[in-house]
């Protein structure tokens, strides 16, 4: 028979509970002691280490580490080393909000950067404004440029989805066709593509002959295929998620060799090897790329430098593992955002939170960036009023299982009318 010593057990349970409580609270105290203003620039990096954005998060972190190595090897910012504190946001908006509070109140960072998925950024941005925390997005969300956020939020590297989509329309209508069938996921990201492409192709004298929204829960697409009209000249697809392989296979089975032109956004196939047999049907089709995954014949010295530092080979894969494909079309935004922050901090002679407003105003005063090792994707215009950057976009064709850039837009093609002016907003 088991004899239980009640007093001892109760004591041990209470002791255990108290110990757990102390353990859970203690890093907060350590965090406070660690954060001393003036000895280093501290940046909060809430990356998507887990959740639906994990493949992006993994490469965003690698890219950020590489950029910081370069920055610190060059003397840091204003003579101070730059430290990065990484936390996993789980690609979850609720956790995104929690982390901005943690970075602000516990780690006491100087700025936060690195969010990609727009729903996480949309949840985090209002809280960043309330906490007066400079918040740099590495996302394509249009919400910022549309005036939905606040003066503390910036997107200094990657162009937003409105800019990307509208800049593709002229080339598509001139080279592929004017009658478009849109296939997109039935949620906000897909609607951004639908709305912007419909407007942009109309402006080119084309039309959308069908738009097919596919619910995110679908795992097979056969029943949607007959809805592609016979007069379709271009299929425009943005299928994000693991179902993309099935989508491509079923598209091939339905259309066969007598297919219309196909244009997609590489978002669906970031971190995926284009050359695998399941994606054979994409041979000869076109994709948008923010930054060309495969090193091109006219590769710049800046792109070479960036690839070498991040550890990416000429095929866009990790130099350590050829099967580990990067999210090359997007991850440059982390690298460039860090250098944009560095430039603004140097302009403001930033030493700590006392110069926060000067740092933000310096950021707003920047008009653009030249192509360089710091901005390997290419030159950019930066709009201080909308806090949004505009850059060249690439259209690539799948040739022999690789992506070859066939057209690079001008920056002018990516511009649109300002929709807000954050400089009119108080800090």
């Amino acid at each position: 028979m088991r004899v239980m010593n009640k007093g001892q057990n109760r004591r041990s349970v209470l002791a255990g509970l108290a110990g757990t409580g102390l353990l859970l609270a203690s890093p907060g105290i350590i965090g406070r002691a660690r954060a001393q203003a003036g000895d280093a620039i501290r940046l909060g990096a809430p990356f998507h280490r887990t959740g639906i954005g994990a493949s992006y998060g993994r490469w965003y972190e690698r890219t950020a580490n590489a950029a910081l190595e370069v920055i610190n090897a060059g003397g840091g910012i204003n003579g101070m080393p730059v430290e990065m504190i990484v936390e996993d946001d789980g690609t979850d908006p609720k956790r995104g909000v929690e982390l901005i509070e943690k970075f602000s109140a516990e780690h006491k960072v100087d700025a936060v950067f690195g969010h990609l998925f727009s729903h996480v950024a949309a949840a985090t941005a209002p809280r960043a404004g309330e906490l007066k925390m400079p918040y740099f997005l590495c996302s394509e969300a249009h919400t910022l440029a549309a005036g939905g956020f606040n003066r503390y939020c910036f997107q200094p590297s990657i162009s937003d989805v409105k800019s990307q989509v509208s800049s593709m329309a002229p080339w598509i209508s001139e080279n592929l066709g004017k009658k478009i069938t849109l296939i997109y996921p039935d949620y906000a990201f897909g609607y951004d593509h639908r709305d912007n492409m419909t407007a942009a192709i109309k402006a080119q004298g084309g039309e959308v002959v069908a738009d097919i929204a596919i619910p995110p829960t679908e795992t097979t697409f056969t029943r949607y295929m007959p809805r592609i009209p016979f007069n379709t000249e271009v299929i425009y697809h943005v299928m994000v998620g693991p179902a993309v392989m099935t989508f491509v296979k079923e598209l091939g089975e339905h259309l066969g060799s007598n297919r219309p032109e196909i244009f997609g956004f590489i978002d669906s196939l970031e971190a995926v090897d284009i050359g695998i047999p399941q994606l054979e049907y994409l041979e000869g089709t076109h994709f948008w790329e923010g930054h060309a995954r495969y090193a091109q014949a006219d590769q710049t010295e800046f792109d070479k430098f960036y690839r070498e530092k991040v550890g990416v080979d000429e095929n866009g894969a990790s130099v350590d593992d050829a099967r580990d494909i990067s999210t090359y079309a997007h991850m440059f935004s982390v690298w460039e955002t860090l250098f944009a922050m560095k430039q603004a901090m140097e302009m403001a002679d930033y030493k700590g939170p006392d110069q926060k407003i000067a740092f933000l105003e310096a950021m707003e005063s920047i008009e653009g960036f030249e192509a360089s090792n710091e901005f390997p994707q290419g030159e950019k215009l930066f709009n201080g009023k909308t806090h949004q950057a505009f850059s060249h976009q690439n259209i690539s064709k799948v040739t022999d299982g690789k992506l070859d850039v066939v057209y690079r837009t001008s920056i002018e093609e990516t511009l649109y009318e300002d929709e807000t002016d954050y400089t009119q907003m108080s800090f």
Binding site: K6, N9, R10, V13, L17, T20, L23, L24, A25, P27, G28, I29, G31, R32, R49, T50, I85, E87, D88, G90, D92, P93, K94, R95, V97, E98, E101, K102, S104, A105, E106, S118, H119, A122, A123, A125, P126, R127, E130, A141, T143, G148, F149, N150, D186, Y187, A188, F189, Y191, P215, P216, T217
Partner: protein, 319 residues
């Protein structure tokens, strides 16, 4: 009126006092974290009313959280109603949704009930995506800046102030705790427990168990929606991820860890889970594995949750 379970009432009062004092003791971040814990524990307390006290395991409570979140958030976003009115609308919205869903879901039992609540919640989640033009879908909506403060009895409450946020969350938590104390420690609460322990016998004694379960379901859903309304208005963002399956599971886990069928269990469970995720995610990328292992260990050693185990072994009044 007879006061039942004075010891538990005293513990509740002490807990609220300790929570109030903590804001002066804890470092700023832990105060912010405690604000979130208080809101989420209201959600878990609502869940506990159904799962812990009445014995009905729902897998779809995110829909009630989301009903409160959207009713409050959309009314302030589109109609510009003041925050107190939006909050009330959130509670009313959650009440209406939980009453209607309860009327339908309670026609099923056990596993069927779990599946039906899950399906309703999934339908609710997909509706938030379907009506993206209104709800903002997965990307969500950021509430306008003028919805970040409100006037009440001549005072202006600034939702961006950490002190105001904490004390508002504590006030709502205290009110919900008081209401739940009154319900669970009174005749109605005993009926809930009677249904949980032996429904046929409760019927045999002449009680309408369908009505009892519907009451529990509606109270549970309304309180969960209260947490949703508070969360949306306090953080200025509403989005479909709050209607997702994961949110339902979180309420279940908070309750399981703390102790189903104990009044303060959800608070403890929410605090432990939230802080574990918060601390471990900064130490290791494998924090979800660690938490999974911990959940298994807790279930093996404390199958009735932390407070549930303490209640069964030593403090019988802790219910």
């Amino acid at each position: 009126m007879t006061l039942h379970n004075g010891k538990l009432l005293a513990l509740c009062v002490v807990t609220v006092i300790v929570l109030f004092v903590l804001q002066f003791v804890l470092p700023p971040y832990l105060t912010l974290a405690l604000t979130r814990i208080l809101i989420l524990s209201v959600f878990a307390m609502g869940y506990n009313m159904l799962m812990g006290y009445t014995g009905l395991l729902s897998l779809g409570h995110a829909m009630f959280f989301a009903a409160g979140l959207y009713a409050a958030g959309l009314s302030t976003y589109y109609w510009g109603v003041t925050l107190p009115v939006a909050f009330l609308l959130g509670i009313i919205g959650a009440f209406a949704v939980s009453l209607v869903i309860g009327l339908l879901a309670l026609r099923t039992q056990a596993v069927s009930f779990m599946i039906v609540t899950l399906m309703f919640a999934q339908a609710g989640y997909l509706m938030t995506l379907q009506f993206t033009s209104i709800t903002g879908g997965d990307q969500g909506l950021t509430l306008p800046t003028d919805a970040r403060s409100f006037g009440l009895f001549g005072f202006v409450v600034d939702m961006t102030s950490d002190t105001a946020r904490f004390n508002l969350a504590l006030l709502i938590f205290t009110v919900v705790l008081g209401v739940l104390f009154a319900i669970t420690q009174g005749p109605l609460g005993r009926l809930f427990v009677a249904v949980r322990e032996n429904e046929p016998r409760t019927q045999m004694l002449g009680f309408d168990t369908y009505a009892i379960k519907l009451t529990a379901f509606t109270v549970s859903g309304t309180i969960s929606g209260t947490a949703g309304a508070l969360y949306g208005l306090m953080f200025g963002y509403i989005g479909s991820s709050f209607a997702g399956f994961q949110n339902s599971i979180e309420a279940l886990l908070y309750t399981l860890i703390g102790g189903p069928g104990t009044l303060l269990g959800p608070l403890l469970g929410t605090a432990v889970m939230t802080m574990l995720i918060d601390r471990l995610s900064g130490i290791t990328t494998a924090y979800l594995i660690v938490i999974g292992v911990l959940l298994i260990v807790v279930n093996l050693w404390f199958p009735k949750g932390i407070l549930g185990t303490i209640r069964d072994r030593w403090l019988g009044w802790l219910k």
